[in-house]
């Protein structure tokens, strides 16, 4: 990447959005006030989590869901200001043009890759795509494909799995058509019918059938039903609600939650084997006074009751572990409240008394 490209990437980053919902995560980008992404990134939900370099995790509203062209538009409740807003390219895309893809592959946020247009127009079904060779992976979906003028030429949409850099982006002219059609309706909550391609106002849909052509609209059904956790997941979320944690903002997947209490991070994971672990990485092992730290942790373990200290790799954790079948609202609330109270207190104590360095959080998850 040359200096000009690096500068371009730097200016573009502020428009890149990370999108998360209980079923997965992806990328998006700002065009004007709207966040553009793929329909499959929002998973048929009306609300998803959005975040940018300047906007911390916020609930965004999916106001347009278009499974026909795999597009979705999200409205942010807070205006995201960009010094160098992205523009849609109107120049024709040619084979061999340089391209840059930006997104969050596997959650590795703001990853940039470059390549060339391998084939400017490739038809899949009824839709044309740009084929390119910049490496993209799961999590890149919905991110922008840029030309060397930092203009959007496409929306990164899919790859051929197990291939070598066969990426496909929805061209910006398709996106522009969709944006124009959407803006003329001057309303929100729009779904595009996968069959007749008409834009349908969600409130006019009956029993999930397209009022124009009668096709069953899967997206309408999903939006109507929303995300409804059940069983132990619902119980965990209920307990978090009791403890005044914003469940929607903390949800990382259907079985994983993360939030900060001041400077202390709490992670809750519900594993397939039925074990629920709520823990907080408090600090790393210091270079001096280590055995005293161990003695302290082991000694505290004898009085902590529901919680326990442990070490994994080089990090000290405070954890609450329980098997799903044993989790009750009463017991779980007491134990998690204790974790939320004790984790920040112990973190401060360990850092001050044992000069333990603050934890470092792995980005590879």
């Amino acid at each position: 990447m040359n200096t000009a490209t690096q500068k371009m990437v730097e200016q573009t980053i502020e428009s890149i959005v990370q999108i998360t919902n209980p079923y997965g995560s992806g990328s998006g980008f700002l065009i004007g006030e709207l966040i553009i992404t793929n329909s499959h990134v929002v998973s048929g939900l009306k609300e998803v989590l959005i975040s940018t370099k300047t906007l911390s995790k916020t609930i965004g509203t999916v106001i347009y869901d278009d499974p026909a062209f795999d597009l979705a538009f999200i409205r942010s409740p807070i205006l995201i200001e960009c010094k160098n807003p992205l523009l849609l390219s109107s120049a024709p895309v040619l084979d061999g043009d340089s391209v840059i893809a930006i997104g969050h592959p596997y959650g590795l946020n703001y990853s940039t890759t470059e390549g060339i247009v391998s084939k400017a127009s490739r038809l899949q079904g009824e839709v044309e795509y740009i084929q390119f060779d910049a490496a993209i992976n799961p999590g890149n979906s919905g991110g922008p494909l840029l030309n060397d003028s930092a203009e959007v030429i496409g929306v990164n949409t899919f790859i051929i799995q197990n291939s070598n850099n066969l990426g496909f982006a929805l061209p910006s002219y398709t996106l522009k058509d969709a944006l124009d059609q959407f803006s003329t309706l001057k309303t929100e909550d729009i779904i595009r019918c996968v069959s007749c391609k008409n834009l349908i106002l969600e409130s006019t849909i009956q029993n999930d059938y397209c009022p124009k052509c009668g096709t069953k609209l899967e997206v309408a059904k999903r939006r109507r039903e929303g995300y409804k956790p059940s069983g132990v997941v619902a119980l965990i979320e209920k307990i978090l609600g009791i403890l005044k944690i914003n469940v929607t903002l903390s949800r990382r997947s259907q079985r994983s939650w993360r939030f900060e209490l001041g400077t202390t991070r709490i992670d809750i994971n519900y594993y397939d084997n039925g074990i629920i672990i709520a823990d907080s990485a408090l600090c790393r092992i210091p270079q001096e006074n280590i055995e005293n730290l161990y003695d302290f942790l082991l000694s505290e373990n004898s009085v902590l009751e529901t919680l326990q200290f442990s070490i994994n790799e080089n990090t000290v954790y405070l954890s609450y572990i329980i098997v799903d079948s044993s989790l009750s609202e009463e017991y779980g609330t007491v134990a998690l409240r204790k974790l939320f109270d004790e984790a920040p207190r112990y973190q401060k104590l360990l850092i001050e008394r044992f000069k333990a360095p603050e934890p470092k959080f792995d980005e590879f998850e």
């Binding site: 994994n312 079948s325 017991y331």
Partner: protein, 442 residues
């Protein structure tokens, strides 16, 4: 008719199935009323009779036989509480149950005398354990669990109790193997092995090592790495199964065997060299050091999850395939080694149904008849005359299988289908029969 049945039972006594006293795990058969007691425990918990639920559950863990001076699990119930203690190898677990909770702990070691590495290890184990945790209280390192009885079931007692028992034993063994064991607590229940038995075991170990070394002389290392591996591994498995060492020796044997299978980067020649080196160390060990590695103790929980018979069948099938390969390549030496290896490997690696464990032990016993003769047993095979005690072998097979015939679909006495013409033919026919047993419940 009743008179006739009584007379018949005199001539054909009911088979007496006993658990082998060798190998890792419990040297006793499970409680014959295990299932019924477990169900009664479940019913009592549902009725809210918590203490009875625990009493039935703990009773279900008590083995059929007890070879030790004190019971491996004791239960003491009063009106409001139930106390219990159980032995698991090196560990003693003490527990107390009230209507509200169960609390149990194992005192591991004195904190003051522990190396920093052990403290670190305990804290790392805390990250991995599900139910129990290491802590320090008044100078004692303790492994403990606390269960809330609000939604208790027998299953919810079983897994935590097993976790604390297995880990307390394992960690004490680890300390004894790696550091000074004098810091360990609750060790009075360990039973020392008589000197005479130690001497016999020591002599056998050295004899087996020497015999293995002799058998490998003349084998070109490049052509026979597989054969050499089978010889060394079968020998280590045999030492572990028959002599049952503890502490450092058990740890080293485990590391050597697991290292062989898990290290994909090392050449087989290098792995064999490691095994050979370790066997030399064992051979050079003096009897005093050797004697410190042994004790006898009771176990409440098996360290193994019971394996599906399909897994065992597949392993036997693959191993017999290797036998065929060596036969076709005229490497006859290794064939009997593989036959010996198969049963030892299964006994070392899998949790087995009591009948299968007895059958595979029978195979080990036939191959190590001189060892069992020295232990006061009737040898089942005479290596000089190459003859089998066919009646005894048939009886042992019957005893292993008949108590379970009504419970499983495909179990039948196969002693008539064995080929007694020589050891190799016997093993081939024996494994084919074992492979085809069916443990599907009726």
């Amino acid at each position: 008719m009743r008179w006739f049945n009584t007379l018949k039972s005199w001539f054909n006594p009911a088979p007496m199935h006993c658990a082998p006293l060798y190998g890792r795990g419990i040297h006793a058969l499970p409680n014959p009323d295990e299932k019924e007691l477990f169900e009664r425990s479940s019913a009592a918990f549902i009725d809210g009779d918590i203490l009875s639920g625990y009493e039935y559950f703990l009773s279900s863990l008590i083995h059929k036989e007890n070879l030790f001076p004190t019971p491996h699990l004791s239960i003491e119930r009063s009106e409001e509480t139930l106390r219990f203690s159980l032995y698991q190898g090196y560990a003693l677990i003490k527990g107390s149950v009230s209507e509200k909770s169960l609390e149990a702990h194992a005192d591991i070691a004195l904190s003051e005398q522990l190396h920093v590495a052990i403290k670190r290890r305990f804290l790392e184990r805390d990250f991995q354990l599900t139910y129990c945790r290491f802590s320090e209280d008044k100078g004692t390192i303790r492994l403990s669990i606390c269960l809330d009885n609000a939604t208790i079931t027998p299953q919810k007692v079983f897994y935590p109790l097993r976790e604390i028992a297995l880990n307390a034993d394992f960690e004490k063994e680890f300390i004894a193997g790696e550091f000074d064991e004098s810091a360990l607590l609750d060790t009075h229940h360990l039973i020392s092995i008589p000197r005479e038995k130690i001497e016999i075991n020591y002599a056998f170990m050295r004899q087996w090592i020497q015999e293995t070394e002799q058998s490998l002389i003349g084998l070109l290392s490049n052509d026979n790495t597989g054969m050499t591996s089978f010889s060394y591994l079968a020998l280590l498995l045999q030492i572990d199964y028959l002599l049952l060492p503890h502490k450092k020796m058990a740890k080293n044997i485990s590391e050597k065997i697991n290292g062989y299978f898990m290290d994909d980067e090392k050449l087989t020649e290098d792995k064999n060299a490691d095994l050979e080196q370790y066997l030399r160390e064992l051979s050079a060990m003096d009897i005093e050091s050797f004697s410190t590695q042994f004790y006898n103790c009771a176990y409440t929980f098996s360290p193994f999850e019971q394996a599906m018979h399909d897994e065992i069948s597949t392993f036997i099938e693959e191993s017999l395939g290797k036998v065929r390969w060596y036969k076709n390549n005229r490497s006859t030496y290794v064939i009997s080694v593989i036959y010996r290896y198969i049963s030892l490997y299964i006994l070392y690696n899998y949790g087995l149904h009591p009948s299968l464990r007895s059958l595979l032990h029978l195979h080990v016993e036939i191959y190590a008849s001189d060892f069992f003769k020295a232990a006061g047993e009737i040898p089942l095979y005479d290596p000089l005359t190459r003859t089998f005690k066919q009646n005894l072998i048939a009886q042992r097979i019957r005893e292993s299988i008949e108590p379970y015939i009504s419970r499983y679909k495909g179990l039948s006495d196969f002693s008539e289908h064995l080929n007694y013409s020589d050891l190799d033919h016997f093993s081939q026919s024996f494994y084919l029969q074992v492979k085809n047993l069916d443990y599907t419940e009726v």
